[in-house]
Amino acid sequence: MALDFDRSIIGSEFDRTVFAPVTKEAIEDYIAASGEPAANDMAAPPTFVVRLRGHRWMPENMPNLGRTGFDAGKDIAFGVPVRIGDVLTAVSTVHDIYEKTGRTGSMAFVVLRTVVTNQRDDEVAVIDQKMMFR
């Protein structure tokens, strides 16, 4: 059976979160926890964006694509640096749902895309989170 779901979900926004201004302490905490070096005194390491947590990480109307699933990886395209005082906004959409076959059978993949921008609407990061279901 091919994947059976309402394709209108693709491209739909399911979360929009505006975060409190980035503090020096938050950047220092991230550097201490991750070991990632800062680019300079004012900017966070690029991977700082992975600490952001929106209100919802999956759409409410997510189709049932299988009984089990796991994290299939994350791609991040980095934009402008995150600086102290930045107000970041993360908008998450269902970017793609597709099926593929492999040695162990068929699998469904969901790609959730989160675009992070700052208060100037500069793109800070595009994060593609993949989940596999079967």
Binding site: A2, Y98, E99, K100, T101, G102, R103, T104, G105, S106, F109, V111
Partner: protein, 217 residues
């Protein structure tokens, strides 16, 4: 002439390799990998607008394009993709009928080659154990750079029993894997039409460069 007939660039969802970086790698490794060109076979897709001629000119390597599609007999490389094929077959469908696809592709001017036949579930060998052979198969990918131990070895039976020609490809998803397995052609190939015609006729064999690369480490 030596071509890597099975490659994936970052146009495929599971590859991070830009085509230009493949070109740079092949130029850099020319002494170990005497590859004259590659065929991009992106997963479940065909982009008619893609144009790699500027990269061909810049690096002096042939860049042809095909597609890797998924069927009820496993994965299949399609060479000579055209509008007739993409109108008739939905390349994103992972359950295409191989019995329908392979003869139809040939009828529409292309050639479909089952790839990594020795792999479980997505290889031809397993399906031939309980389903009839497919009409119109001319060649199979006997040497696949991404196969696990024993998987390439299973393919020899198909070649012996059905008389299929054998090709090789790296199935590269990473830059350093490009060209590790390839196909040597007696004929000169300059276009996808040349490739389809030659694959139909014979005069080619798989080549394995992995041992040569290991010695370079």
């Amino acid at each position: 002439m030596i071509l890597d007939l099975h490659t994936h660039s970052d146009a495929s969802e599971d590859s991070r390799a830009p085509v230009e970086t493949y070109m740079k790698w092949l130029v850099r490794k020319r002494d170990l990998l005497p590859i004259d060109g590659i065929v991009l076979t992106e997963h479940r897709q065909w982009n008619p607008a893609a144009d790699y001629r500027p990269l061909e000119d810049k690096y002096g390597l042939l860049i042809l394009r095909g597609a890797e599609v998924e069927t009820d007999y496993g994965h299949v490389l399609v060479y000579g993709v055209n509008d007739d094929m993409t109108r008739r077959f939905d390349f994103t469908n992972v359950r295409l009928s191989a019995q329908e696809l392979i003869p139809a592709v040939a009828h529409m001017g292309g050639l479909a080659v089952p790839c990594h036949p020795g792999r479980p579930t997505i290889g031809l060998c397993e399906h031939y154990e309980h389903k009839p052979p497919i009409d119109g198969v001319v060649a199979v990918e006997a040497l696949n750079g991404g196969s696990r131990r024993g998987e390439n070895e299973r393919v020899q039976h198909l070649i012996d029993h059905y008389g299929y020609h054998a090709v090789g490809g790296s199935d590269s998803h990473l830059v350093s894997f490009i060209g590790i397995c390839a196909t040597e052609f007696d004929a000169d190939i300059r276009s996808i039409e040349d490739l389809v015609n030659t694959l139909q006729q014979g005069g080619y064999r798989p080549l394995d460069f992995r041992d040569r690369l290991k010695k370079d480490v």
